[in-house]
Symmetry: C2
Subunit: 238 residues, 2 copies
DNA sequence: GGAATGCGATGACTTAAGTCGTGCCTGGTT
DNA sequence: AACCAGGCACGACTTAAGTCATCGCATTCC
């Protein structure tokens, strides 16, 4: 794989995209590249935050972990997304941990340079605001799911999202690969390995999906959507 | 009650506090005051967002509601806090509903004026960024609680927060009023009325707290703290 | 060709969470 | 004083969620 150009990476970040080339170059000059193997930690919850990370290749997950080992993924960021800006802005420690989901590279931009840029360039600041708002909106919907929906609905939503993003329409239905283990899916939708397995099987039994090795085929998209819409019990029709 | 001064209200908002008096006056001139009775809705999830609301008196809750009627409070904002800025920045509809927790008044500032201000005044923009970051941090901790902690721990945290904010140390322990109904507490910590009742009783039985009318007395703060720290089962000592 | 390993499947069980119904206070209203 | 409504208490029950242990199948690694 060719060495990636830091300038191109920065340009993919929504709030740097507005900068002219020479400013991007100046920023890139302050960046340090870091490679991470799969599952390697980028930082841990509680660590002090000294700069901004930009995902250049691969993917990073932001997650909370309980002493029991159970984990909840907050968000997974891919190329062109940033990690750690939250702690950077309010000055506190990282609110969650970050680790590579696959082999990845990230750029590290020291706090100082980034904050100066935000302070002096209002179009960057404004774009940062927009991206923080989008993130808050996402967190809000995660709270809604965890609090008001059951595991099966969260799993249905997860599958539907994958189908929309990576799905290919074939004569059998909408197909997409499922790389992660049940354990990882559990961490994303807020439950454990076992329940992911059981609920997947339930979907298969009901003819909503079909599973082949590391691949899912959605047979009945309408029914999958209906599952997503569900809420906790009592919503059962009378 | 005397009529409140809009300028004073705006000055309490962290990201307006930096403005000189004449700018605050100019902003205030664009504001419309609105009174709400307890439980009156300010806006509903999905409504388009046309401006920013600033709480002047009373308190507004931001919440998600399921068809079953079950509700999850995201955050409660009091005087000097804003409501609705999230949708304003990313241009989407409101991600949650808002209603008055008690009789309240809010200022309404049209989108246009506020966005212009953010775009042209970088110190306001920067302060907005900081407040969005703080809010995200809060949402993150709510997700952690909902996903990784049990109802009793969430209730313990709720009680501890109240004790810290409103508690008065007496010879019996730390006392504070508990205005809300079990229903409302449930909506805040992500459960139903019944479980709040049962878990409160459990704390009373164990001698951690004592309840009198609309008042709570924390008898054993150390134990309450220990409860807050807990996670889901398996963490039980062996 | 095993041996080790990690993951998925699954049945049996335990427990927290949630539901339902009833009855009792308490505070406010007329 | 009598009444009513809202909220709380509580016991009995149901169910989703989670735990545990076992088995089997691929992959990978010597």
């Amino acid at each position: 794989m060719a060495v990636l150009d830091p300038v191109e990476t920065l340009r993919r970040v929504p709030f740097f995209a507005v900068l002219p080339l020479e400013e991007l170059r100046a920023l890139a000059a302050h960046c340090v590249v870091r490679r991470l193997d799969r599952d390697e930690m980028l930082f841990a919850e509680g660590d002090p935050c000294e700069g901004l990370f930009v995902v250049q290749a691969g993917a990073m997950k932001l997650f909370k972990m309980a002493e029991t080992g159970r984990e909840q993924v907050l968000v997974t960021e891919r190329a062109g997304s940033t990690v750690g800006e939250l702690a950077l802005f309010d000055g506190g420690p990282f609110p969650a941990s970050a680790a590579a989901v696959e082999d990845s590279t990230v750029l590290y931009l020291p706090k100082r340079e980034f904050l100066d840029l935000c302070r002096h360039n209002s179009s960057v600041a404004f774009a940062v605001i927009r991206s923080l708002a989008t993130r808050s909106r996402y967190l809000t919907s995660l709270i809604e799911e965890l609090s008001l929906k059951e595991v099966s609905h969260r799993l249905a939503r997860f599958l539907r999202d994958r189908a929309q993003r990576y799905g290919v329409r074939t004569r059998r239905g909408v197909e997409f690969p499922l790389e992660e283990t049940n354990q990882e899916i559990g961490a994303e939708i807020g439950t454990v390995r076992d329940l992911v397995s059981r609920n997947l099987r339930r979907f298969v039994d009901r003819g909503i999906i079909k599973m082949e090795r590391r691949k899912v085929i959605v047979l009945d998209m309408a029914e999958l959507e209906a599952q997503v819409a569900g809420t906790k019990r009592a919503a059962v029709e009378k």
